[in-house]
Symmetry: none
Subunit: 430 residues, 2 copies
């Protein structure tokens, strides 16, 4: 009876999930722990209570001690890191040691690792790679389709399960999606879920957004949380519900209100980007587009071509970094550059007409500006950018931007690209 | 005597610094914990042993419990978050409660807070702001020049000190620099520092690197740690020393050995990138470069133009996404495209010659391939990429790459760009 009671008691206080990130590089501050954030988000989606995250270095003894500690207060532990072939990859053996268990080679996994390596690197014969096929006897393997190090699902004691993942984000994510998600959902979720829907805004600051919807930000279910980055503000609406359809119903009226409030600023939802919605819209219209870039140096084109299917609408572009090429490739008259300078409304306009004619498309965007850190002057400071957009009717829309000159080169390039894309979006909307 | 011994014993096992990040938004995965990385780096610079980082939500009871726990194993705790005016900002009171202490209003700080608010937001009259002036009796205040919430330095028991900071990164950083740095340095640092120097390698995998320098990876001071990303492997050499010059002396022989071992693969150190060293080298040679991009869609150009000063060598480029533009802008013969396909050695070669002639430069790189997820075939699978580099002597170097077809579009584009840049580096080296 006594044991039973104790067992029940333990069961009651032992609930919740923890994340453990393993790697001395994290303690040294060499890298930001993006894995913990990603997993935390996944646990939220599954509606799981997640109380604590810990980061620890590649030290076998401390790691064992910590895992033992966690096994006494939580019932599910997710670890990342330390599954690789190097001597400081100690996760599996240290976890096993915490429960006085040994690890054993699994020959079938070793064969798989060797096969993966022979395709990529036939010359590797490193025996330390074999380490990656050692697991406790009763552990279930999490297959790693993007790398050599598999993870495991292991239940070393009653009411405590560990899932291990490599520290490489891409490997961890695909392993989660292919294997861990379903395992956790069926074994740990109480059936309710957290469901989120994110609205994406641009052309408006976080302070203005927050001020405008002050009251909505106080809501408890759904909650609304704003997150700002350089180019955009996200409004994340989150609700806890029994099903996705119930969640969507709860979110619907809030979403409607936000869409009415920020009608011009909301460009998309969730995984959409300015470039993806533009590609979609241009495909729908059966219209093509080309770019003439100066200060953005190819970044604008790379944004569009990051979208799969962009070749249906994007024909190409010219990066005319030198004045010589602005003339020879885009037919910008030399005297225009001499009179107004390469960074001017006149040259941007001429670049836009030139690229549209030469590359023969329905739409053309040109951009010329001063990204810094050199090249600014009193009359043309760093952050001054001219954009020109020419459409099927050959009407030209000209936009002048002055970004904060204290911003760095990369920020000014990204803000310029964002304004090129958003300006086209607003033109297509109207 | 007994007490004394115990005290000594405690002192011995209780060493090390911990970081505690407080905020439910971290547990929900809403934001990445960049504060922990920044503080970790600062602790490294001060040469302090930092064994553990924890993240916890805005829950008073769990927070008290955790702080008590930490006070038993470490001697310095740095916290961020939970110092604001909202009901879920509970840090100071929860920490005090962990040691059965009360917090009291400090009227002078309250006056200061009110003054700060009247300057910035005269409309705020919220009394809960007063919360921010409550501290334990013997706590020392860390002034917050960028916000309203001060932090504290508090020693609630023998051999345990807590420093609290707000979660807003800009506020935390300036408070660290103005107050905490000196306090920690004079009270906790033994005068030594950690110093790191990172070598960057490409064209070689982490497994091969680790295999080759197995013995070096076992070194204790300096230590060498490998970190891999999609395009590169970093070898970080870290040493603990009395001064930067002593550290550099300790690192020197290791660095020399690594440079000899990986002479072809090491392209730079620390903040250098392939593109930054290429821009530097081309400036030195007074040679210009242009690009003709297909599958990389502008990404190659954007890498070069991310380097400030790149306009000295990069004249521009052509993104010939459509076959039509490969012909009209780069003079690639239509029959060449028809016979061999746009993704072929022949077309890549012709693009490279075309762009060099049209844009008149010393060097030209062209790249054509299949980035996916569509467009692959049995004879030309996703991940097949042709690169051609033409130099001042018009000699053409042709490179064929087959990346793993399971890689996504963005990865194949980034790997292609990396191989374009690295191939040019190797040509310039030879």
């Amino acid at each position: 009876m006594k044991t039973n009671l104790k067992h029940l008691f333990n069961k009651e206080i032992k609930e919740g999930v923890e994340i453990l990130s393993i790697g001395t590089e994290l303690l040294l501050g060499n890298i930001v722990n993006t894995n913990a954030r990603w997993i935390a988000e996944q646990l939220s989606i599954l509606g799981l209570n997640h109380f604590r995250q810990t980061t620890i270095g590649d030290n076998a003894e401390r790691l064992s001690q910590l895992v033992k500690e966690i096994s006494m207060r939580s019932n599910l532990l997710i670890t990342t890191g330390g599954l690789g072939p190097t001597p400081d990859d100690l996760t599996t053996e240290s976890i096993a040691k915490a429960f006085n268990q040994k690890i054993y080679a699994r020959e079938s996994i070793w064969e798989e690792i060797k096969m993966k390596l022979s395709q990529k690197k036939p010359y590797i014969t490193n025996l330390s790679l074999k380490k990656q096929c050692f697991f406790p006897k009763d552990a279930q393997i999490i297959n790693n389709p993007k790398g050599t190090a598999p993870g495991m699902i292991w239940k070393p004691k009653e009411n405590f399960t560990i899932l291990t993942f490599p520290g490489v984000p891409d490997e961890m994510k695909v392993m989660w999606e292919e294997t861990a998600y379903n395992f956790i959902k069926s074994n740990f979720s109480d059936g309710s879920i957290f469901f989120s829907n994110t609205l994406k805004l641009t052309g408006i600051g976080e302070a203005t957004v927050s001020e405008t919807i002050k009251d909505l930000l106080e809501l408890k279910n759904p909650t609304i949380a704003p997150y700002a980055s350089l180019e955009e503000v996200k409004l994340r609406i989150t609700t806890k519900a029994k099903s996705v359809s119930e969640a969507k119903l709860l979110i619907k009226p809030i979403k409607k209100e936000l869409k009415e409030t920020f009608s011009k600023n909301i460009f998309g939802e969730d995984n959409e980007s300015l470039q993806s919605i533009l590609v979609k819209e241009l495909i729908k219209r059966n219209e093509s587009i080309v770019f003439a870039e100066s200060c953005t140096g190819g970044l604008l084109s790379s944004y569009i071509t990051s979208v799969s299917g962009s070749s249906k609408v994007f024909k190409g572009g010219v990066i005319a970094y030198s004045n010589e090429l602005k003339h020879s490739l885009l037919d910008v008259p030399i005297n225009l550059i001499n009179s107004f300078g390469a960074v001017s409304e006149e040259v941007a306009e001429s670049m836009s007409i030139g690229v549209k004619n030469k590359l023969k498309s329905d739409w053309a965007i040109s951009v010329s500006g001063i990204a810094g850190p050199d090249g600014g002057s009193d009359s043309k400071p760093i952050g001054l950018v001219y954009i020109a957009i020419t459409g099927p009717n050959n009407k030209i829309i000209k936009i002048k931007k002055q970004y904060n000159p204290l911003r760095n080169r990369n920020e000014i390039q990204r803000l310029s690209v964002n304004d090129c894309l958003n300006s086209l979006r607003l033109i297509l909307l109207s």
